[in-house]
Symmetry: C2
Amino acid sequence: MKFKYYDDGALRCQLSGRSFAVTYHIRGTEKEALEIAKNMCVEQTVEFPAEHIGCPAIHDGILGRVACVEDKGNGFQRVDIVYAEETAGDDLPQLLNVVFGNSSLLPGIVLKRISLSDQMREKFPGPRYGVEGLRERLHVYNRPFTFTALKPMGLPPEALAEEAYQCALGGIDLIKDDHGLMDQAFSRYRERVEQAAEAVRRANTETGGHTAYIPNISGSFRETDDRLSLAADCGCGGVLVSPGLVGFDMISYAAEKTKLPVVAHPAFLGGSLDRGKGGIDCACLLGQLPRLAGADILVFPNFGGRFSLTEEQCAGIRDRAAEAPGHAAAPCPAGGMRMEKIRQMVEFYGNDTALLMGGSLFTAPGSLAENCRKFREKLEEMMI
Amino acid sequence: MKFKYYDDGALRCQLSGRSFAVTYHIRGTEKEALEIAKNMCVEQTVEFPAEHIGCPAIHDGILGRVACVEDKGNGFQRVDIVYAEETAGDDLPQLLNVVFGNSSLLPGIVLKRISLSDQMREKFPGPRYGVEGLRERLHVYNRPFTFTALKPMGLPPEALAEEAYQCALGGIDLIKDDHGLMDQAFSRYRERVEQAAEAVRRANTETGGHTAYIPNISGSFRETDDRLSLAADCGCGGVLVSPGLVGFDMISYAAEKTKLPVVAHPAFLGGSLDRGKGGIDCACLLGQLPRLAGADILVFPNFGGRFSLTEEQCAGIRDRAAEAPGHAAAPCPAGGMRMEKIRQMVEFYGNDTALLMGGSLFTAPGSLAENCRKFREKLEEMMI
């Protein structure tokens, strides 16, 4: 023992004894997976040879513990590891670090699920609004939300604002910046947000509608506070965050700073998707994590579109968006959504969904406002 | 055409004509890969059916362009795509979004390399100090840096400060918080940083040394500015950032705010590692990206340790850390480093390396200070 601290048995704080559990799938036999899991219990906490930890309070209180191993029959074992609440501090980056920090670098380990204690849920309450809150804000009851994106990259702010105006006239519920629009020379954030928010306000006044405009704030941290303030000051209806680019905690930060709904976008997250060799399970990565961070709407690539997710993976995201406790988030399938697919989508995802239709609203015959109106009417008809 | 903007040919800004290139490996035949690459040119920029973009300035100026396709002979094709500089705005999240935002969600695509123009390099100059600057700050010439971490999680600040003191007495060059230490009830950031920084200052005064203490700032954005200020005010020698948890831009932000060296840690990034099914190539993920963001020291799991990287992958990180232009970053192999492996590591990684030794300095016979001294002497002997 090098220090009295190592064996005096005294953690400074009394541990609560409360814990949270994390479910992993680990490749190998039961014996191999158990061995890996035991190493993870060390790796994710003390990163110190367990036999050299002379302090019983640390050895017994801080190290993770394997709670169960179950053969999944596909070459993987389900393993639950339980960690002391205190290891995760009070915020999401610290929690995610304990959950999958170093273990993410090991092959054949899939992060499947985080199961928090009730007390931890107070720190991570999830969406501020959720589906119910969005329904009140948008005055949309009994049907999925209609959602579109301003595009293409390259248009000046006044053109994007004109698009927003047309979409709002057509009664769309939600309009976001395309996730590629942030702060570029051809469309600066400030100008775009001021003009698009004003255009939507004008349309809402004309129609009596409640369309929300949702700018993308996923840029440099140097500007984040100013951008969030501007979004709130301009009366935007939410903000768009890509946690792959700016961290999952930005969802929580943006929600708190703006008091607005947050839409999570999966850009740059895809590398972490488990594709059979380890990583983060789809439902966890695109469903649980952004919702845990506080996202009210979870954008993800729909099955059957130009991306590769399966129906099963999309069902996983849908189910994670709504599972108890906490406010349900709205799953938001996107990527190649077309008018003909709406019925199938609503049957699959249910009513508490945001349907994001981009390109096809712009390219179908008819004006943008007309196409937005048709999109909405199509949903209203289905609800009769 | 829905708007005059779509076909008036006028982007608001004159595009510079300058571009940056991104190298991907795409699974499939040449023909298949070319088809995927053409879709990526759209997906990563306008996200809008190319044939509906009536504005030639956008069609010709904003869409990506395939520059070359080359069969790699392993079922993958190398494809370079060239993007207009302006698409990437002025910051790292926007750049990464164009580089691999939506494409990360497609299977069988590996991000290999970003090649910036000279003009873009001015926006992304890389490490502020790099190896040369670190040598001046630490007064270490002609040998690799010795580096250790305060651990285990669970110890109170005074115990961690005592460890820091002993390590500094032993003449270690760099001491970081273990990446699991951030702001927990048993060791609050403020107390730990104040006490560890003071302990290292005291040891430096006694020995005439220049040991640097590097706290971990990878927690909630709510506290980031305060934490960075405290690190600078306490005379810390750098800050530790885990970009997987808080975004790559945090490296750049922390460097600018503190004017201190930044150490990048790979926690939570591992899911994105390409393991043969798509994702981000190891040398890019753990070498190029953190260096591009401005990290002076790049921590990564060493081959032959308890992680899974191969010798070839580690060589890739090493080479990316030093390639021209810009300041070379110090590659920092870690994870199961032992005294017996030092010679092999130096031969493999070279002199401009930081060798991170954790557990084995603590568990070897002898005091922590003695073991740090041996670590350093071992390197000095090699240099004769």
